[in-house]
Symmetry: C2
């Protein structure tokens, strides 16, 4: 029997007893149970879905103290952040409850028959959407609540009418199992099948690969590294019947700071930026990893201010020992690729020190090694000679969850070009503030061109996340009894 | 220099002089010209897009006589069908003109700032959509107008703000070039860059592969065989930066005909079905290739009626000699897999005779060879012992553009199960009529689960086809000048 061991993030010591990895038979059972639950859940009403999602939110909140303490032991993210993350997770569950209750998954486009020959004439058509089926959901390391067992993927999939089989992240195994226990209690209380939400766990890739290959799975949802997501996407594509795979992957989140705003507010912005780089030990998908500055005295000043501000940051322990060592490897690669260090200090075995370096835009564009994400409190200043060259830097980044443009406050040819360059590579473009922190709103878009996500037309945060799990179907000349269902699947 | 030769479909003889295949340099030029045209076209107004699309529709109509005659020589589809297809193509162009003019590509979701801490509080967010970039568009053999140079993919991409590079289909090269000439005249008259619509051509796969691999391409759109589409999708996925690839592939389009409706209207339905199977020599993506019948005397009668009705059909020449020989190979495979022939006659070198065979559901489910699409006037009757077994037949089909349910007129457990089974595998479910003929409407969905399409959440026909080429972007704290653009890209 393969066993898994939870680790205390702050000490690197084992936490609790070893857990058994899911066997191939257990993975198959979970997938089959999800498929069995699909028939009923896909035909469930919006109010049933809302009732489940609200009860799950309440269950999280009722157990807040114990869950946050356990999450903190496993991740070192700190009780304040984790309690806030639990709030966000409950908020998401309730938001998708509202969306289901308002009937969005059942919305139809009516297209009454038009008499006469085609192309103008046509039969009666109604467009509705059907839930895809069981979703293989891969938890993230860095959000043990909001992108985990009861995170946004699970909330939006359940709201869409899809069962979920969660692959627990090995960075917070005990928490995942405890939350899963709460889910099972809620399902039982609501007399819903236990298989509506499943959990599997394993140390290597084999459990996730088996899950995404399982014939019962109809979609994948993933938050994590580009390498891991790309491997699972390849599995999804290589199935006898490929399935959509929604991967939210790595991102360097360039911040372009123009001289005028730096001249006016450089010190404040340097401090804000340093906080964002080191926030949560830099373990955010939206951590600003590239700072693009034009050649200007205000930019020189920002580099100094940022170096100083970042030096005062005290990042906590990283999520896992593997991430801690990967951070050092990433920094080494960055230096080997020619980055000039501005701040480079040895950290502890668990907690790194922030890393800041600088390169010329020409080098950044020429050397792929400088463009790789270093997951953790790290950022690279890229010095560009002109707005045109800054645009080439964005183009070299290629795809990112976010781009931040500081100082594009006036309508000008340069600013239009920067907005065009930013929207061309990112799913979210900010004009103030920092990219860390992703609001759960109707207008949110968390997902951009490759390599930041595998399906840049979709979002994993915000109301539109539910769209990932609903497939359009047109009914032609549908009988009255079916139309009377108002978009509710049979 | 590689040359290409247009072939008269009815005779197999060469038509006109050989044409030069696009060289790698020419493909690169077309892709670069499209990329150069993107900056201006992505920022164009809805009325500019509408003006171009309407002028293209008018240009087609003005040249109707010559275009239809040429298309008929190259495809043998007949002047009536081809003139109707030209109408549909012009209709689509005007429909997307209206969509662009109404401002759909520029629609925004406004999410004003909410004061207070997250998760409820959030900054001002606006969700808009940006055009993806140049689209590599692969023409279909079987719709020389509607899924070709000025077909729905081109119309929807241009309406979205995306340039297009068309890969002409070798089955109607002269027509493609003549239509492309019209496009160039219209672009010139409107003072738009010639590269906004490009054309490349080649005999083998290399031209298409080079096009989809080109760094300037931002999406692919394809209508054709599962094999060809899967190969190009793999190329799109294997790029250093993968791009969305919208492939509308093969489909067997099951028709489930229940005993009661057959008892009442069997003869009429048999005649309708025979016409649909043989329509356009069976060369429709939506040709009904699988007829699912329950064991019942009315089903036995339908088999006889259908055999008789199909025997009276006189399919015209197929589109290309390659398709003609592939039809015979497909029939041979079907027989080798155990299909019992009901109608199997030798055709001419150009035109096949309709093929009809029958199998038991158990065999259909067990043998993948029986489930392969035979492109042409062919259909396979599958006899099921029960509704439950009919559902297993649908599940074995797996993914289809359409499923037709005849006789599901009342609300019953069986009919609900059939609707559930049909919507689970298809993008369009019909309750009357035949699947051939795809209305261009707001509610249309032309695309279903694999293998019928590579992106089952998207449609290649109907208003939603434009969604394929628009990527969401959230603007956070956008400045006033940018908000004043009302969703118009910079």
């Amino acid at each position: 029997m393969t066993t898994l061991q939870s680790i205390q993030a702050r000490t690197g010591q084992p936490l609790g007893e070893p857990l058994a990895a899911s066997t191939p038979g257990q993975i198959d059972d979970a997938a089959r149970a999800a498929a069995a639950a699909f028939a009923g859940w896909s035909a469930s009403s919006g109010s049933s879905r809302a009732a489940l999602l609200r009860a799950l939110a309440a269950a999280l909140e009722a157990e807040r103290e114990g869950l946050v303490a356990l999450a903190d032991e496993e991740t070192a993210l700190g009780p304040v952040r984790l309690s806030g993350e639990l709030d966000r997770t409950a908020f998401q569950l309730r938001r998708f409850a509202d969306i289901a209750e308002r009937g969005l998954p059942f919305a139809t486009t009516d297209d009454p028959a038009v008499a006469g020959p085609p192309p103008a004439g046509h039969p009666a058509m109604v467009r509705l959407r059907v839930p895809l089926g069981p979703v293989a959901m891969f938890s993230a390391s860095n959000f043990p609540f909001a992108f985990s067992v009861l995170g946004g993927d699970t909330a939006s999939a359940l709201a869409a009418g899809c069962p979920v089989v969660v692959k627990a992240h090995s960075g917070h195994l005990l928490l995942s199992n405890r939350v899963f226990g709460l889910v099972q209690q809620v399902l039982k209380a609501q007399q819903l099948p236990a298989g509506l939400v499943g959990l599997v766990q394993g140390g290597g890739n084999d459990v996730g690969v088996q899950l995404v290959r399982h014939p019962a799975m109809a979609a994948g949802a993933f938050t994590g590294s580009t390498r891991g997501g790309a491997a699972l996407q390849a599995e999804a594509n290589a199935r006898p019947r490929p399935i959509p795979f929604y991967g939210e992957l790595g991102s360097t989140n360039p911040v372009v700071a123009l001289p005028a705003v730096l001249a006016a507010r450089g010190a404040e912005l340097a401090s804000t930026l340093a906080g964002s780089i080191a926030l949560g030990c830099g373990q955010f998908c939206t951590s600003p990893g590239v700072i693009v500055l034009l050649n200007d005295p205000a930019s020189d000043a920002l580099v100094q201010q940022l170096t100083t501000a970042l030096a005062t940051q005290k990042p906590h322990a990283m999520l896992t020992p593997g991430m801690r060592s990967a951070f050092d490897v990433g920094v080494t690669h960055m230096l080997a690729a020619g980055a000039q260090p501005l701040l480079h200090e040895a950290g502890s075995d668990q907690a790194p020190r922030p890393f800041l370096a600088q390169v010329d835009a020409v080098d950044f564009i020429a050397r792929p090694g400088l463009r790789e994400e270093v997951f953790g409190p790290s950022s690279l200043v890229v010095r560009a000679a002109s707005v045109a060259q800054a645009l080439e830097v964005l183009q070299a980044v290629g795809g990112s969850l976010t781009v931040t443009l500081w100082g594009a406050d006036e309508d000008s040819a340069d600013n239009r070009a920067l907005v065009r360059g930013a929207t061309a590579i990112a799913g979210r473009v900010l004009f103030a503030g920092v990219p860390t922190g992703v609001a759960v709103t109707a207008a949110q878009q968390h997902g951009g061109p490759w390599p930041s996500s595998t399906q840049p037309m979709s979002t994993s945060v915000g109301d539109a996340a539910i769209e990932r799990f609903l497939r359009p179907v047109a009914l032609q000349d549908a009988p009255a009894w079916l139309l009377a269902r108002n978009g509710q699947p049979c």
